[in-house]
Symmetry: C2
Subunit: 437 residues, 2 copies
């Protein structure tokens, strides 16, 4: 499917006016950034960059789209002609997927004609705002979970396609797998699953359900033991699968005390290798509270797919520089933004002192000065090139892109000061220093 | 695209075990309901039913899906054979799309074999949880806005496909249009748009931008007047379009005082018919606070597409009854749910006294008794049939379904006690009375 109509109507009407007056072809730089993190968050995680690049590749107006736009009289014939030929021929650069970010970080830069770049606003923001919200929450969860794996099981609480993207974003932020099959297929993610209460209830009794699951899936399966009585459930689970039972899942009750009781019972039955998966409305705080409990992995649903209280990022897509009449690039901003004095095209780097992130350095100013700027020796550059003159740079999209983003997330988090990983509310983990050239 | 892999892995592994032990073909009733509304909400709005029915129609395992499942060894060959033939042949019924609901309302009922029904869990819940969260928030906004239209402009803050569904759900709950073009195309919704700050900034000055937009779109267009200085922006807008200017948009500042100043200025310039659209991070409370300000319509973004603090509903899909060995239907529940004593298949009706909703009556119990139950004369039945023996009942899907849902929402809200429409936190607007037969 084309992504071309995943677009606000005003992109097309602005295009029509700009084509008519000739400004549509002015070279322009749009930037994606957010002014604030969600209240109390210490960092954010960029996710969705690979999906943005795939969406730009698929941004084509085929006859079906053009016919509909014509029938609805959304734009005039000259604009339809332009759209029929639309291909993005500009450049896209910015933060690698998986990288952490702070308020004002220039996350994505789209440089092209106004016409080519303005049309991408909605789909670029939709993808980045959603996926980054999920990854930012997921990162706090994997950090709270430490070495124990987090498993994404939230598809049912998100729009059916958002669920696929959410699984992908959770894996970027360190989740070990997802229950979502389409996410597994599309992005090469590991898929996981246990069983629902419905499966136990379908059978005449719990023994029959467990016997059936073990017969079908082998003793390494995960049995859900809280349909009737957890103590009897665990007893029956070990009887059905033997002491080689893979895991039991707890989906209700007071998890810390429940997990301790189940661990003792499993050990006393000789099932010392059987793991305990918990999955009852977990968020980062509940995961942290289970750190001392004998739990082996966390199934996380609602809170990861909804960004744990912050279901979207406040990312915006702003025109920051464009050609003037003479063909020179000029910084632009609405009056309220211009007050900051930090205008124009941006680039950025992270100052890293003794292996620890110390500052986010965001450089703005006149085009030639920003383009000529080079990071100092103790700075790690953050600006990567994804599309150059309309050609996709390999390695950022598809399953490869997800793997690379997962590594980048791990590396970027490892560099943060430890206080960044605390869950309590606080200011951004490192300050953002604005340099104007 | 098929919807078959928008599914949690455990649906398929449970199916494999149930096929092997013979229970897969037991007649089963699954129900969708929610135990609670979001804190303080007085009612919820069902949305997405039409999309659920479309997803069930599209639920097919084609060779591409079967090959992937086989390669990943998700399930065995016998299960793949079953999936290859999968067609839903059962029945689906429940609350009409657009209807209001309360905790425990039996929103959707899927009756079929266990095998056919269990596979639909994830996609059914994904659609209903997302779309109903948006519609429930949107309904509070249209109620707060009274006769002034609300316009959905939140695509950029939601996953790109969730944005399309969110636009649809907002319109079900009374929004007058959406900025999302794909939603317009797919569901026949009215699309709307103004211009972004980027359009003004692209031009050498505001005069040139306004002149260009009026030349392209006519004087009936909506000009965005807050890029530089609102007072001068309004002056230039009227100069560019004349006193027939359609509208001005305000996207920042203190909206009530700003709207009053702009209204006076427009009137003093003779543009007495020019409307004022506001669009700065509005939610239901901000809309209510603007009731006394001279505003003509509300552009709503983030808060409507993210459910205004409740981005998902807590809807679950539970097996409530299934055949036993003898072929008789038997109510089932996990122990914690069984304590309520309100088990088995449900049906429901709303008691309406003197035109005002008074009680949600939810009837549960043994299958024959619930099936034989008829609403009392002062009750409006809520249980509608959408799919009968695998055949879709016409009128619930596509653009027709959205129109019908919009009407249902309006009628259903009109019947609520006026206190239901207050925005302050409170209990559900009417009590739910559980009848056990």
């Amino acid at each position: 499917m084309t992504t071309a109509l995943l677009t606000d109507r005003y992109e097309l009407t602005m295009l029509q006016a700009a084509l008519a007056d000739g400004t549509a072809h002015r070279r322009s730089v749009f930037e994606v950034f957010t002014r604030h993190l969600p209240p109390g968050r210490r960092y954010g995680v960029v996710a969705g960059t690979g999906r943005v690049l795939e969406a730009v590749e698929g941004f084509r107006f085929a006859p079906a789209e053009l016919d509909w736009l014509a029938a609805q009289r959304v734009v005039d014939d000259a604009t339809l002609d332009y759209l029929a030929q639309y291909r993005f021929t500009g450049s896209i650069s910015g933060y690698a997927e998986g990288e952490v970010f702070f308020p004002g970080s220039p996350l994505l830069q789209v440089e092209s004609t106004f016409a080519e770049a303005v049309l991408l606003e909605t789909v670029v923001l939709s993808v980045l705002n959603h996926d980054s919200a999920v990854a930012s929450a997921a990162s706090r969860m994997t950090s709270a979970a430490g070495d124990r794996p987090c498993l994404e099981m939230g598809s049912r609480r998100a729009h059916e396609e958002a669920a696929v993207a959410a699984a992908r974003a959770a894996v970027v932020a360190g989740f070990a797998g997802t229950s979502n099959l389409e996410a597994g297929r599309r992005y090469g993610l590991r898929t996981i699953g246990t069983a629902a209460h419905a499966f136990t209830l379908l059978h005449d009794d719990e023994e029959a359900a467990f016997a059936s699951q073990v017969a079908a899936m082998g003793p390494g399966t995960t049995l859900l033991v809280d349909t009737y009585d957890v103590r009897r459930g665990v007893e029956r689970a070990v009887r059905a699968a033997g002491t080689g039972l893979g895991a039991v899942r707890l989906d209700s009750g007071d998890l810390p005390s429940q997990a301790r009781a189940v661990r003792e019972q499993l050990d006393s039955l000789g099932a010392t290798g059987t793991k305990i998966v918990v999955s009852s409305d977990l968020d980062e705080h509940a995961i942290a509270a289970l750190a001392a409990a004998p739990v082996d992995s966390y199934g996380v649903g609602t809170s990861v797919v909804t960004g744990s209280g912050a279901p979207t990022c406040g990312m915006v897509y702003k025109l920051v520089a464009r050609e003037d009449r003479s063909g020179a690039m000029q910084a632009v901003a609405k009056t309220s933004a211009a007050k900051s004095g930090h205008l124009g095209r941006k680039t950025s780097a992270r100052r890293v002192v003794a292996g620890e992130a110390a500052e986010e350095v965001v450089v703005g100013g006149t085009d030639p000065a920003v383009l000529a700027w080079r990071p100092e020796p103790d700075m790690r550059p953050l600006h990567e090139v994804f599309v150059q003159d309309g050609r996709l740079v390999p390695g950022w999209t598809g399953a490869d892109g997800v793997e690379r983003a997962t590594r980048r997330h791990a590396d970027s988090c490892a560099e943060l000061p430890v206080t960044a990983l605390r869950l309590s509310a606080d200011d951004p983990a490192i300050p953002t220093v604005r340099v104007t050239l």
